[in-house]
Every structure is written in C-alpha cells, then in structure tokens.
Amino acid sequence: MANEVQYIFDNQNLQKSEPQKFKPEDLKSEEMIVNIGPQHPSTHGVLRLEVITSGEEIVDVVPHLGYLHRCFEKHAESLPYNQTLPFVDRMDYLAAMNSEHAFVMGVERMLGIEGSIDKRVEYIRVLVAELNRLASHFIALGTYAMDIGAITPFPWMLRDREHILRLLEWASGARMLYNYIWVGGLFYDLPVGFEERCLEFCQYIKPKLKEFDEVVLQNKIFVDRTANVGVLPLDLAINYGITGPMLRGSGLKFDLRKVDAYSAYPEIDFDVPIGKGEMGSLGDCWDRTSVRMLECYESVRIIEQCLTQLTGDHKRTRDFDPRATVPKKIRPKAQDFYIRAENPKGETGFFFKADGRSDIPFRCKARGASFVNLSILGELSKGGLIADMVAILGSIDIVLGEVDR
C-alpha cells in the first residue's frame, strides 16, 4: 500500500474529462475563454466558471460544479433516517438548522407524528432556525459587500455571526453542524439562561443591522454597482425555479413559511419583504440584497416572539423532556413523499420513497435551493461586464455544499 503510486500522469487525462464546454477553435476571433475558479474568492467556494468574453463583455457563462460532491443521496440510501441527519447538516453548512428542520418535518409527517410534537419543541425549532437564518444572511451580505469591493462589512458580519454561532454552540454543542433537531423532538432542551442571552443578542443586533443598512446598502458606490445590474423579471424567475430571497427580490410575496404555514410559524407575526425596485429596476441585485437585509429584521422579530413564548406560555418545566416523542424505530409506511421548507437560500425540498419494510429510505433526494438558483447565472450575466457577473453571482447567494450535495 505504502509504495503504491497515487496518481499516474497521462497527457490525455485533462482532455478526457472535458474541462471546458467551449473549444477555442469554435470561438469568434475576438472572443476568449476566461476561467474563474475553482479557487477564487468571488465564486464563494469551489465553483468554476467558464466565461466566454468578447473584450470586457460576457458572451456566455458555463458553471462547472461537482468539486464538493459528497454523495449525500447515495449515503442516505444506506443509513436510517435519524443517522442521515448529520449529512443533511453538511449540505447547506451555513444554515444547518433550517435543512434539519425541513428533513425532520418530512420524516415526522411520513410517520404521522407531527401532531404529537410538544409546542415548546416547535418554538425552539423555529428559534434556532431563525438564528441560523440570520447567520446565513450575515454571510451572504458580508461576502457580497466584499465582492463589490467593500472589505470592512465582512468582518463586521462575521463578528455578529459569531455571537449566533456561540449561542447555537451553547445549545447543541457544535458550532456549525448541529444535529440538534431530531425526528420527534430535540437533542436537548435549551440551556438555562439561553433565553435571556438570546434577548440580549436581539437588543445588540438591531442597531448593528441599521448600521450595516446605512453604511452599505445606502452607499452610493454600492448602489452604483448593484442597481440595474442582473435584472431578473418575475416570469423568468418562476420558470427557472428560483425561490427564496431571489424570487422575492423580483417582487413576488412568496414565502413558504407563510404559504405552507409549517411548525410554529402560523402563530408568529412577521412580514414578507419584497423587492420594490427602489434604486433601479425591479429584480436587480440591489433588490435581492435589500430583501435579505429586511429579512434579518423579520428574523429578529420572530426570535423575540419565540422567546416571549418560551419564557411565557411554553416555559421550561422540570418534567419537560424534548426526547419524549422521539420514536425508537423510524419506519414509515410505504409512500412517496415530498417536503419543502423555506431556507435562507430558498426552497429546500426532500423527496422520500419509503418501502415500508425498513428504517432506510429506498430513495432520498435533496432539492438544493442554491443548485436551482445558480442555474440562472448564465442567463443573467449575458451581455454584462465581468465585474457585473461577480455582482450577480454574489446576489444569488450560493453555498457550494448545497449546490453539489
């Protein structure tokens, strides 16, 4: 084993894997292929873009994926539902709680136990999911400002995100990949004192959000770079399956938390912000960013209401056991099931086929919001400048863990 050659060099290796869709000899004389990534900060991870340019103008963009493909669906076919949960975390690793929530809800509905979940459990789930949504939006906003050329907001956002990650670490024991929301319950109850600290955090974050809003979103340079860039009309967005803040940025008030009204969301009062074309045209990069910003305020509102419930009607009791309804054996009856939920990036869906004979799904397919949202990049970037393409890619807000799964 030790002496085995790890890689055998062959000149044909690169050609056989077809690294480019376009061939240089097929291009017009003024066009050229520019390769961006997979190790490039503006691609937000290991994404490679094959860009055909004519001068500074973009003719076509072909994203090449798969650098972070970790065979989630293959793994899920050999593991029981509850053991798949840690893999779900690793899909959208910036918003693990939200993906967990979607997956767990699907399994619970297949088992038919969604009605027996304690209300306190549901409120804790919404609380941690919204905290995680904030953390994910902070990364999206911070890195987006950095893509545009403003370095300062990024460490600001990372600093504030770190407060959230510490809270979640306190609750679950892990910083980013939690395995906290279990099928039928939770890993643990919230630690004592969590509610107070969380409320303090809400007080702390509100002026910071306002500061970010004023310094970045209203900034003239930022507006010049993002307004009227990458305009996404609503019909095209729906046809491309775009969901989440991108769809709302194009002016449609569509949020699965409202539409499907799952978990504790119907009891919570919050608005769905949409893009209005304030700085340029409806559905441009600025609108998408502004929707994320406004969603942060709404998330804080949701968190505060959850905390009111968790310290009021559903407060901690001595006999509360978040694992009381966790099933010993997860064996849904034979059925096809599709569950969807609103993640920070858009609609995350899971398709299950259970055969009714085993604890292992016959098939588990994950629909990544980032994967579908990314497919519009070529369409949006055509005819723009290379710098605009970076702005558009940042406004799509992808996380490569979810694109490649």
Partner: protein, 161 residues
C-alpha cells in the same frame, strides 16, 4: 383545485387512458403518465387556466433495481397562483431509459435533468446541453443505480478498496 378535478380535467382533454394510475397515498397525490404523452400533458398542466402549474419544484430519478427492471422519473409540480401540488411519475425501462426533456416548458428542467442523467444515466430527448453536471465527464457508470459498482481506479488514482 382538488386532485380529482385535476384528473377529470386531464381525462376530458386527453381521454381516459392518459392516466395509467393514481396514488393518493403519496404526498402530494401522484399520477402516473406514459412517457410518450409526457410533454403534451405537462404543457397542458403548465398553461391551462385553473391548473397553471408554473413551478417545477423537483425532478427525482429513481432506480427500482435490476429485479423489477424499471426506472422512474418523478416531477413535483406546484402552482404559485392556485396553491396546489401534483406529483407526476413516469416509469421507464431500465435497459433503455429514454424520456423527453421538459426544458421547452420549464427552464429549470435543464440542470435538474442533467443531474438525473448524471446519476442514473437516463437519457433526455431534445435536451439542449446533456452533459454530466456533478461528476467528471469520464466517470464510469451511474452511481445511484442500485447495481452500481465503483470503478477501482480513476485516472490512476485509487478511488475504491
């Protein structure tokens, strides 16, 4: 619109035989179509007033294994204005899995079909750009098939024990 209304609407338009079977146990409720009628039926579902399934949420490939010798493609449709769901299932032969692309109706089908092609080897007719999307182009086999076996070496790198 309820599931029964959708079915009766389809039967009025295309005749009784269009729906091979229904599955109300599935969530959302599921209809099975023949692969030959897929595009026209989907076109109808997409454009007819009252149905108006404008969002294709998810395309799932599924391999039933060599014993049953079938593969399935499952489409999850959703209508944003009417707020109703539909699952559409098409069964294909495992030896020659071939189906028409829905790219002409929903642009989102482009990448999602590429993913199904990549992992199951299901061919899509009239697809504008049917290349592998997650795996490298020279990868052997289709990993999510039930009888898939790892290649031992990939470009001289040992990838399986």
């Amino acid at each position: 619109m309820t599931f029964e209304e959708i079915i009766s609407k389809l039967k009025v338009e295309f005749g009784e035989e269009i729906i091979l079977s229904t599955d109300e146990n599935a969530s959302p409720s599921c209809i099975e179509l023949h692969a030959d009628h897929l595009v026209e039926t989907m076109q109808y579902l997409h454009q007819t007033e009252g149905l108006y399934f404008d969002a294709l949420s998810c395309i799932t490939g599924l391999d039933n294994g060599p014993e049953t010798d079938t593969m399935e493609v499952i489409y999850n449709l959703y209508s944003i204005p009417c707020d109703h769901h539909l699952m559409v299932k098409v069964t294909l032969s495992r030896k020659e899995p071939l189906i028409d692309s829905l790219n002409s109706i929903w642009k989102t089908a482009d990448w999602q079909e590429r993913e199904v092609f990549d992992l199951f080897g299901i061919q899509f007719n009239n697809h504008p750009d049917l290349r592998r999307i997650l795996l490298p182009a020279d990868w052997e086999g289709f990993p999510l098939r039930k009888d898939y076996e790892h290649q031992t070496y990939y470009r001289g790198v040992k990838v399986a024990e």
